[in-house]
């Protein structure tokens, strides 16, 4: 009699331990399965090479060497980084202003303003690009409108299919991704901080500088990272609105997986793209080092 419960105890104990092990396995296993393995697999492929249309599985740095020395990879990479940085700067500035505007409304109004800015997120990405193209085209809304008003007598041709168009389209499409984190960061600032700041003699501008912006910094950094990563990897918008200027790094990566079927080079370029975005995240993380928990 006395042995029986002991045995069942150990077996239930063993079962519990197995469950814990299973949970750990899932915690660890799922990310490995769905994130790490796919990434590692294309990192691996990036060290192979293509010969006569066949993938040769020997370790080589040739693809990475190609990036630095061959064709147009490096110039396009740099110009894409520069474009993304510009869009990021403009978007973060705009989004901070908009987030501040929302933040200063009464709580009931805030939600509706925020939602109205988030509305484009519920729309298909491709529809937005088409809409932008319809607006900016030579026979588009903007040109027709300006001509109807008599402000111009010839359509402005550079509106669409130019670097300006890429810039405008990327900024418009990714603005909500910057507004949301910045607003959420501002929303977390306790209301009485601003009261205390004013009470201690600070003007609204001083409060903005010493309280709001420092506390909004994590959101601003997140908004910047989102914008940079999304614009840097976008290979559709530039192509569709940029005309002959619409060739970005994402497009080069994409092209390696089409008819060219150069998976090794494509993987290497994708690794470089990934490394760039990770670098952006790391830089953003660095600016938050001094953040103190409440």
């Amino acid at each position: 009699m006395s042995a029986a419960p002991t045995r069942s105890d150990t077996s239930s104990c063993r079962r519990a331990r197995a469950l814990v092990a299973l949970r750990h396995a899932l915690n660890l296993g799922l990310p490995i399965l769905f994130v790490l393995i796919p990434i590692l697999s294309f990192v691996l492929v990036s060290f192979w090479t293509l010969q006569d249309g066949q993938i040769v599985r020997t370790f080589t740095l040739a693809n990475y060497r190609s990036f630095f020395t061959e064709g147009s990879y490096l110039p396009v990479y740099l110009s894409t980084v520069w474009l993304s940085l510009q869009v990021t700067f403009v978007n973060v500035t705009l989004a901070t202003a908009i987030a501040l505007f929302i933040f200063r409304r009464t709580p009931r109004v805030r939600f509706f303003i925020l939602m109205s800015f988030m509305l484009p997120l519920f729309m298909s990405y491709i529809i937005k690009v088409y809409a932008i193209r319809t607006i900016l085209g030579q026979r588009g809304l903007l040109n027709e409108g300006l001509m109807a008003l008599g402000l111009i007598d010839q359509p402005i041709e550079v509106l669409l299919f130019s670097r300006t168009a890429i810039f405008v389209a990327l900024a418009v499409i990714y603005l909500p991704y910057a507004i949301l984190p910045i607003y959420l960061a501002l929303d977390r600032i306790p209301a009485n901080y601003l009261a205390a700041s004013a009470d201690l003699g600070a003007s609204a501008l001083q409060g903005l500088r010493h309280i709001v912006l420092p506390l909004g910094r994590p959101g601003i950094a997140a908004g910047a990272v989102f914008t940079f990563i999304l614009t840097f990897g976008d290979f559709v918008t530039p192509q569709m609105v940029g005309g002959t200027q619409g060739f970005t790094f994402g497009r080069i990566v994409f092209s390696q997986f089409g008819l060219a079927l150069n998976w090794p080079l494509g993987s290497a370029l994708a690794v470089i793209l990934l490394a760039t975005t990770l670098l952006a995240v790391a830089l953003a993380g660095l600016t938050l080092r001094r953040e103190h928990v409440r």
């Binding site: 009261a195 004013a198 600070a202 003007s203």
Partner: protein, 362 residues
């Protein structure tokens, strides 16, 4: 003498709801004034009006003879200790405290010296480099105080600053606040709903209820001479007996209650004869004696319960003519109450000056 801060007949409405009505408070230099009231009484609104966070619909707010109406928050010549301190969590203790000087553009060296001085004053000399998250509740309280006094205002506002602390710490902080106020020699306007705290700290208390001032005075005066049933019930414990004013002799009034005629002392003008009034007697002021002894101005009641409360014994009695009332009597637990037992009939008596005559709504 001109008061330092004077709220003159201030009123405030939220839509159609009148939250403050005819509030008139004068704060003297160097005074510890407490605005006491239950939640919803309007005391926080008063503080917010003084601080500049709320507008007023009527009356005038004067500081040192100057109307504050057009003075924005950041130009008002006093500072606030907020209810939950509102310490900036992204700044160190020293940065928090120096904030007021920094936004006034004071040189860095001066800020450093003065921050160090104030840290000493509040007893946090070594904590300047810490962050608020690394401090205990009491320490944060001291930082908030230091931040409010560093610009050397002639007055500070304190919005229920002790409510977040536990009992031991609260007692300790009460002593600290009081001594700090004496040392600095500035006026403290203190908001609280805790009557014990108010009594322990204040030079003067203004009791607010339903947006109006119920009574104001020194703590002892309010305690001993409550003018209204609200004050009598809100400050400490009281036995309240309702009746009608039957006769008047100087400040003494004779009140006919269901349990018989009682004599009570009025603080202020007496109402007309025949008006409904109340008699308030503190449980510790009641003397108990065997029912056989016939005493004037006494009630005979039956012991319903005897409760031992440590230093005190609380005796609860009932009177057949007062079915809804439990009469409470407090005795020191010195053994003298050992004779009492439930069911026993006792005489309750008190000194005439210990019975307060209250006018409802007055």
């Amino acid at each position: 003498m001109q008061p330092l801060l004077h709220l003159e007949n201030i009123s405030k409405r939220y839509g159609s709801v009148r939250v403050l009505d005819g509030i008139d408070i004068a704060v003297a230099d160097n005074e510890f004034l407490t605005i006491l009231g239950p939640s919803g009484s309007g005391k926080t609104t008063i503080l917010r009006i003084i601080g500049g966070f709320e507008s007023i619909d009527g009356g005038r707010l004067m500081f040192d003879g100057r109307d504050l109406a057009a003075v924005p928050i950041n130009r008002r010549p006093f500072n606030t200790v907020f209810q939950d301190y509102a310490l900036f969590h992204h700044m160190s203790v020293a940065e928090n405290i120096g904030y007021g000087l920094k936004v006034r553009g004071r040189p860095k060296a001066e800020i450093a010296t003065r921050v160090a001085d104030v840290l000493e004053t509040v007893g946090l000399g070594a904590f300047g480099a810490r962050y608020p998250a690394q401090l205990s509740g009491g320490q944060r309280q001291r930082v908030a105080l230091a931040r409010a006094i560093i610009c050397e205002p002639r007055m500070i506002l304190l919005d229920e600053p002790l409510s977040a602390l536990d009992v031991d710490l609260r007692a300790q902080m009460q002593r600290f606040l009081k001594s700090l106020q004496r040392r600095l020699g500035i006026a403290f306007v203190f908001i609280t709903h805790d009557q014990e705290e108010a009594i322990a700290l204040s030079d003067r208390i203004v009791v607010v209820n339903h947006g109006r001032i119920e009574q104001e005075g020194a703590p002892e005066q309010l305690y001993r001479r409550p003018r209204t049933p609200f004050i009598a019930a809100f400050l400490g414990e009281n036995n309240l007996l309702s009746g009608v004013l039957a006769a008047v002799d100087g400040q003494l009034g004779q009140v006919d209650t269901a349990a018989g005629r009682l004599v009570a002392t009025a603080d202020g003008p007496l109402p007309a004869l025949g008006q409904a009034v109340q008699v308030a007697v503190r449980p510790e002021h009641i003397t108990l004696s065997p029912a056989s002894a016939a005493t004037r101005d006494a009630l005979t009641a039956e012991v319903a319960d005897i409760r031992f409360l440590g230093a005190n014994i609380l005796i609860e009695l009932t009177h057949p003519a007062l079915p809804d009332t439990v009469l409470k009597v407090r005795r020191l637990a010195d053994g003298s109450a050992a004779d009492f037992r439930t069911g026993q009939k006792l005489n309750l008596s008190w000194a005439v000056h210990d019975a307060a005559l209250l006018v409802p709504g007055g």
